[in-house]
Symmetry: C2
Subunit: 192 residues, 2 copies
């Protein structure tokens, strides 16, 4: 009984920072930058909202930190296979379905941070790399050259997210398997 009864009440800057980041992720995914409330983030993280300013600077920088942390995960967790774009589309479909925050955050970012020039770490780089990888697969004969590498990448991303809940058509949620199969087949036809 000497130390402390509640380990959650222990002082730990890194843990608090992480809790704030997680709470901010949910808040921003739900309401965007303009709609997010700093108070709610503090409450959700069980931390004082002033810590947001000591750890992240301000609301916008907190959003940027969220983007860097969470959106970049897509790039790492979904292996890219330039020679098998249909397979990639399927894996991306699965990932977006399992991580519904990602697509919303990315969409908020596109809408609310156009001019600032701040891109999540490595996103532009990753796009370029993927484009080049496809182009190489095309010159190697693995992938047909009916479309440019850029077109193929953009269309694959568009198709993989076409059936997501954030999309114009609200998916019922029960035809997921059928939708996934349709997405894969659609991309297959692009590289047929």
């Amino acid at each position: 009984m000497s130390q402390q009864a509640d380990p959650a009440r222990t002082r730990d800057a890194e843990a608090t920072r992480a809790r704030l980041l997680q709470a901010a992720t949910e808040e921003f995914a739900a309401h965007g930058i303009a709609g997010a409330r700093v108070d709610r983030i503090g409450v959700r993280a069980k931390a004082n909202k002033a810590l947001i300013y000591t750890y992240f600077g301000n609301k916008e920088q907190l959003f940027d930190a969220v983007m860097d942390t969470h959106v970049t995960r897509v790039l790492d967790e979904v292996p890219f296979t330039p020679g098998d774009l249909p397979g990639y589309a399927g894996r991306l479909f699965d990932f977006l379905l399992a991580n519904p925050h990602q697509l919303r955050l990315a969409t908020w970012h596109r809408l609310e941070r156009p001019s600032t020039g701040h891109e999540p770490d490595g996103l532009r780089t990753s796009m370029r790399q993927k484009t080049h990888a496809i182009a190489r697969a095309q010159t190697g004969g693995q992938v047909p050259a009916a479309f440019t590498a850029e077109d193929l990448l953009v269309f694959t991303l568009a198709l993989a997210s076409a059936w997501m809940p954030t999309s114009p058509m609200a998916a019922g949620g029960q035809d997921v398997e059928r939708h996934r199969a349709a997405v894969v087949e659609a991309v297959r036809r692009l590289v047929a």
Copy 2:
């Protein structure tokens, strides 16, 4: 000379309403609901902001009015041809390029008005009609049945907007013709 000297200063409720609606369209397209400022809308429309409340009720209802007025235009101005989905995709591409507000407004709507249940007039209806039209074209043999009618509609919309400025990949703006052709070809492969 009795009537009025300055047509701009004439009192015309309908014209004022229209100006407010136009100003609101630009403001909402740029900043969304949470980020939009009622004062700015008033200034831009050269009208007193109190008129917003007499004519539209409140900020959210003004947004709904904007959606009803502008987004529904897509449904009317872009003729739908279930037997020629590639052509429809091309026309939709042109329309979205010429009316950049539309896609942004639609995106804001999806992100910010999920629960309210308010759908722009006739959007859901139009989707259903288009789906049925495609299904009919399929049973008639005009369109292959490799995909469901819903899949075809969703993919066509996704591909037509894949290269828009709002999309993950920022289009340079100079390859528009090539991108358009690629979109049409991609949809052609879905119904090949």
